[in-house]
Point group: C2
Chain length 636, copies 2
């Protein structure tokens, strides 16, 4: 059987046996070599570049790889199949896991301030913090020759409860704890209208924090916080890429993968065993808290992420009439999900609104305070797709638009996520038409991330190097035309980049990005029409999501991505999904409020709105077919 | 590192690395070579005989091995330690697992008749059969463009329940089942005062029996039945040795082993992974039922077995003041115990009465019908220890006596369990003083099981070959005296046995057996005194346990093991623990009745009764110091 050796930049070798004819990307997935494949291997994104070092692979030259690169051995992992033994180099940029991924994970002061302000807002609106978990001290009678009641009976008698109300976990700890503490215990109980359920116990005086974990499961990035439930202190925070990335960048590709034989298990394992569990264990380790002392978990993800995390098939989300398996899910415990926390820890899920607006948005809406606002607010979460909520105290509308992965560098030939080497800002000096780039990490650039794309496209448009339809109209030496007649504009020549590959934007890239920004803007327009409002009615625009913090709002407006309203109305609210999940973690009232928000929110399925397509087409220009919508935008 | 190769008779080789100085029995345990060690390796029982075939082991000649056998390489695995590489032969008779073990497991017609009669008795007393599990048919609305409720919501709406009431297991099956059946489902729900809890579901019309398993966990043997909960049909039955046997024959040795570092986990794994799980999977396979369709499990074991099965430390059972961790345990689910049945299946436990009278006796008392009797009844369960219940409808007393493992062949030099090759009956022909043995399987004998011991000792005593104190008074050529001056009586010479080893009874054996039967009889006496009754008040004696079926009652009475009352008052009631567990499996009322029995029963701790020791000493004779208690017994 042929053996493929993957030489992974920066992390050694991995070997896999393969069948002749097997797709190289599938071989890599089999042994968990994480090759970035936003399009899930259908050949469209061109991101799964690898280099053949030894041996042979069957492949045709794909359009995304130049003749020179092809001659050097560069291939798309999804576009070649195994022939015999081969060594394949997997460059770092193609690797899906990056600990240095820059995410809005409360890791800097600004994020922490935004987080604390949001929690204060929620509390300020009268939402009491506190959960159904309660530490109950108890002193039981000591066993003696005259009192030979079983340990469990003496505990139940002391608390006035019955054996049904004591979990097996608690019973297992009882004999030792009783005798270690002169029969003085602390019991952790869950109080409900069904009575007290005693779930754990320990000897009095033993240091035993009662902790919880909130997790935002994004399509691309997973972020989490470990908190002390008693006082709401943050004990640790962490984030990493979602292990499902190798099965496609967007939810549709994930659903398709999940519908294959064994797919659901694979996708669930990728997000659970490879992502959420290491994050939880890592946080517990860094905080010095045993994972068994995590008694409550809150999950906030989009509808598909929620389905995959809980192991429920998401198939019918993408099939007409687009029906999810669940909106609200209220019976899950940690053991059912394989989480290494306290086995009977409740795992709460921020409820979904519809097939494409999920718990990340309902949790995010809570922390956005939109539900408590007198003025109209627009809440936009820019993730792998764009989700929007518009409304106020009296009504709320929500929708999702298929902006796709362009804001995260997907479907852009030199696009990349906001990691080291990504161009995150761009200014063109009109005096000599030179480009000034801001690069994450400060080293040589290797590609463009979302905010870099917005700036670059805005600047190219401002300086009339591209026209309103995204066509390259410049005629300088930076313009290239490939063998298919496709024009591209060189931003950084090969000798100035970290990879030795030219960084450029093609007309296909420009078109892809314009469609993404058009999706957002047309969704805003449709929501306003639906509510019989205009942009002038918007009191505040709340921007959430990892991309949000770095956006130059002037540029985002000038390319017609966001409405042309006074810039001071824009406010960055960080990872609102994670913030909302933290509120639900610390407060049952917050949890009930999210349920209320969910039931009060109207879900608009854009694909069913007849005017959406017209709005979208009109928005596929820079800034818009109707330039009057962007009065503040001038060009040179 | 020295390598020990175990040559296991009838099942191949197993190798283990060992440290010089390591005990051979421990090396065998490490690699799960199951060597029978009823005394748990303290050198007293002499059962762990193995033969050194190659290499060397450090050991002194133990008293249980003759000079000749020692010269042939016979050793006690607990009495020798590793020196270097060695090959060790493990004879079949020393192997703890025997699929051919003969147990009261409903496998023959007589057992089945006894079982059916007991169930009919319980029903006849007005106990309704039926559980809180209910199959609820439901027809949900089909999803459409106008009805995009999530699957879970359409199910809840159809049933009038809320999302909290639906388990994650059910939700996971919902999307596919809905679409496979035109939205017609069958839901399995548990109904309680807390409302309906929907635990599973499937498409209407799918063959989906709702099954349950009852398990009797004996110290020596585990027996189980798989039943259809809808109609009470037996779908399969099975039994095997308790995998904990290698950690000692009696509960005290098991508790000591469990108290060692990692011991509880080891003992739990031995009974669960090695015993109960294979039994359950085997029954499901033979019945063609997926294990996931087992929704209820009932466990009946003695107090120690219950603790070990549920993973609760039994330490304090054997430490003054002898307090178990639990009597009744009501919150366990299959997932917590690692059982491969439906994860949320309730695992019920027949409640314990005290440290040494457990759920096997409370369940057995239910099926004995003692609780519903007008006349006084005595219920004796002869297992690895003896447990007794005396009483009637108005009162019940229970106690355990440390009869030890003698009835199962433990602590008897040629004793063995009731498997092939065991002498199970004995008659001495007075004309020529020849012995006629009944041997299980009909081949050459290899040892004596409990019923064979009773018969043989009764016959030796009847024919005045031994005296009232168990001393050998015969003077024929069958009497041997060893180098320590200990006499033994040869029953079958070496050339007539299946092993080539002489089968004999030594005075130590006789003494051990007499102490065992004395423990039973003195417990009976004490119970009667406690109730201010005499043997004449006993209306019926119910004998349960694997040994029970084969007992010759005349002989058992003549050696003073059981009271001298008309033999027709003795009735064999089979494996009453398993029968009672089956009742609890099929009937919540039976379960409640067992709780009631438990709370009405008085537990007598014999070790605290001042007269017990006197009674015991008086009973250590054949038949008794007070021969007047056994008027019907004549000797030749």
């Amino acid at each position: 059987m042929p053996v493929i050796t993957f030489l992974i930049e920066g992390s050694g070798e991995l070997q896999a046996e393969a069948l002749p004819g097997e797709k190289l990307l599938d071989v890599a997935r089999k042994v968990n070599v994480a090759i970035d494949a936003p399009c899930s291997g259908n050949g469209s994104c061109g991101k799964c570049r690898v280099r053949l070092e030894r041996g042979e692979l069957f492949s045709e030259k794909p359009r995304q790889i130049s003749e020179e690169d092809y001659a050097l051995g560069w291939r798309l992992a999804c576009g070649c199949v195994v022939k015999g033994d081969a060594d394949v180099f997997v460059p770092d940029i193609a690797s899906a896991y990056k600990s240095r991924m820059k995410v809005a994970d409360l890791s800097d002061e600004r994020e922490t301030a935004v987080f604390n302000a949001a929690l204060a807002d929620v509390k300020g609106a009268g939402i009491a913090f506190g959960t159904d978990l309660e530490v109950v001290p108890v002193r039981a009678d000591a066993p003696s020759e005259d009192d030979t009641r079983a340990d469990l009976d003496r505990l139940c008698d002391a608390l006035g409860i019955s054996a049904e109300q004591v979990s097996l976990d608690a019973l297992r700890k009882l004999p030792t704890a009783l005798r270690a503490s002169d029969c003085r215990l602390e019991c952790l109980a869950r109080r409900s209208e069904k009575g007290l359920a005693l779930i754990d116990l320990w000897a009095e005086g033993e240091k035993h924090p009662v902790c919880g974990v909130a997790v935002d499961i994004g399509t691309t990035t997973v972020s989490a916080v470990l908190m002390d439930l008693a006082d709401g202190r943050i004990l640790a925070k962490a984030s990493s890429g979602n292990g499902q990335i190798r099965y496609g960048a967007d939810v549709i590709n994930r659903i398709i993968e999940a519908s294959k034989e064994g797919g659901l298990k694979k996708l669930r394992s990728a997000v659970t065993e490879e992502t959420v569990i290491p994050i939880i264990l890592g946080m517990c380790r860094s905080a010095g808290v045993p994972a068994g002392q995590v008694y409550r978990v809150v999950i906030a993800g989009n509808t598909t992420m929620n389905h995959l995390f809980f192991g429920v098939t998401p198939d019918y989300i993408r099939l007409d009439p687009y029906v999810p398996a669940f909106m609200s899910l209220k019976s899950a415990e940690a053991w059912e999900l394989g989480l290494p926390v306290f086995p009977r820890a409740e795992v709460l899920c921020a409820p979904n609104i519809g097939s494409y607006v999920g718990g990340d948005i309902t949790a995010g809406t809570l922390s956005s305070m939109l539900w408590d606002s007198d003025e109209y607010r627009l809440f936009i979460d820019l993730g792998t797709n764009g989700e929007l909520v518009f409304g106020c105290r009296d009504f709320m509308l929500s929708c999702a638009c298929s902006a796709g992965p362009a804001f995260e560098g997907g479907e852009i030939s030199c696009g990349m996520r906001a990691t080291d080497g990504a161009i995150e800002s761009c200014v063109i000096d009109e005096s000599d038409m030179s480009f000034k780039f801001g690069v994450i990490g400060g080293e040589k650039p290797v590609g463009l991330c979302g905010s870099g794309l917005i700036d670059t496209i805005a600047e190219l448009f401002r300086c009339r190097l591209i026209d309103s339809s995204g066509k390259i109209v410049a005629e300088d030496e930076r313009v290239r035309t490939d063998e298919y007649g496709q024009k591209s504009y060189v931003l950084v020549p090969a000798d100035g980049t970290g990879t030795g590959r030219t960084i450029s934007l093609s007309e296909v890239d420009l078109d892809n990005f314009i469609r993404a920004k058009a999706a957002i803007f047309s969704a805003v327009r449709l929501m306003l029409q639906y509510a019989d409002s205009s942009v002038d009615d918007i009191g505040q625009v709340l921007i959430a999501g990892g991309i949000g913090s770095g956006i130059n709002m002037d540029n985002a407006v000038s390319i017609g991505m966001l409405p042309d309203i006074p810039r001071e109305k824009y406010r960055y609210i960080g990872n609102s999904s994670l913030t909302g999940a933290c509120c639900m973690l610390l407060s049952d009232e917050a949890r009930a409020k999210v349920d209320e928000i969910t039931s009060n929110m109207t879900y608009i399925e854009l694909s069913r709105e007849s005017t959406y397509m017209d709005e979208f087409v009109s928005a596929c220009f820079l800034p818009h077919t109707d330039a009057g919508l962007f009065p503040s935008c001038k060009r040179i």
